[in-house]
Amino acid sequence: MKFTVSKDLRNNKVMRNLLIAFSIIMLLFLALDVTNKILKFGSTISDIKSSWLGNEDEFIEPLSTISALEMVHLDLFIAILLLLLIGSIFMRIDTKLKTPFLAITMLLSMISFASFLASIFFSEAFVIISVISFLAWHISASSMLLVSLSWLIKKP
């Protein structure tokens, strides 16, 4: 985790190339994560509601509470690692907006997990919040990666 403590990464060629490669792969991961969820649950709100909460007319079973919790458990672990690493690279960007940007991204990811569980346990009204916050944190994290990438590519 040297890059979390070394200040100017762009002067270190190996570290710079490593982080450029890391950022590109993480961008790909974020895009594939959204694609995976669309393929798994559907692309419209009604499809997602049916996959999560079940649909008697189409004989679709609802997600069990244990599988919902297992999904959150795994996705949350990935989100924590991903956001910590993206946040550590984004730290070097010289702009006043970086702190609100990071806070919004991390809070949106937590809202997405909490509202997903709330939609399973309490009310289907949380489905829309979960979907919007899920997409929003993926877009926000991707933007952080793109800004970091442009900073890393630029010569110091």
């Binding site: 244990i66 919790l69 949350l76 910590l84 730290m91 991390m106």
Partner: protein
């Protein structure tokens, strides 16, 4: 000196980590139960309650990803603790976390070998592991909160 950005990053990381711990406790309670008897039943099976005994392969499928994930999380938390005023607790926390984690993981295998005493060991080690992880996370949060941001 720590800046506002680092404070935000580490605090939100710690909050997310606590949420992850909450989901693992919830999963443990919902899947296995609260008492050692429930743990023994979950692993060793119970014909009267129609609970099938866990297989070695099934157990291994859970152990393998957890060995990776939990070790990474312990590494990150201890790494962050190195920058706090609680450095002196690191050897105890690290030893406690690793021993309880290994005992928790290994107990399942002893249970499927019909050694029911390991239900208590699994129960105790799970509780110790969760408690130590929560303490370590709170130590990071408390140190971050005490620091003045620049």
């Amino acid at each position: 000196m720590i800046d506002t950005y680092q404070k935000t990053l580490i605090t939100l990381f710690a909050v997310m980590l606590l949420t992850l711990l909450a989901t693992s406790i919830a999963l443990f309670i919902m899947k296995i139960g609260i008492e050692p008897v429930d743990i023994a039943q979950y692993y060793m099976g119970n014909e009267e309650a129609f609970i099938v005994k866990k297989s070695f392969e099934g157990l291994f499928e859970t152990t393998a990803p957890h060995l990776f994930a939990i070790t990474i999380m312990i590494f990150i938390v201890i790494h962050l603790l190195l920058f706090t005023n609680y450095k002196k607790y690191i050897p105890y926390l690290l030893a406690g976390l690793l021993i309880s984690f290994m005992a928790d993981m290994a107990s399942g295998y002893f249970l499927i070998a019909n050694l029911s005493v390991f239900a208590i060991i699994k129960w105790v080690s799970f509780l110790i592991f969760q408690a130590l992880f929560i303490i370590a996370t709170f130590l990071i949060i408390s140190d971050i909160v005490r620091h003045k941001a620049i």
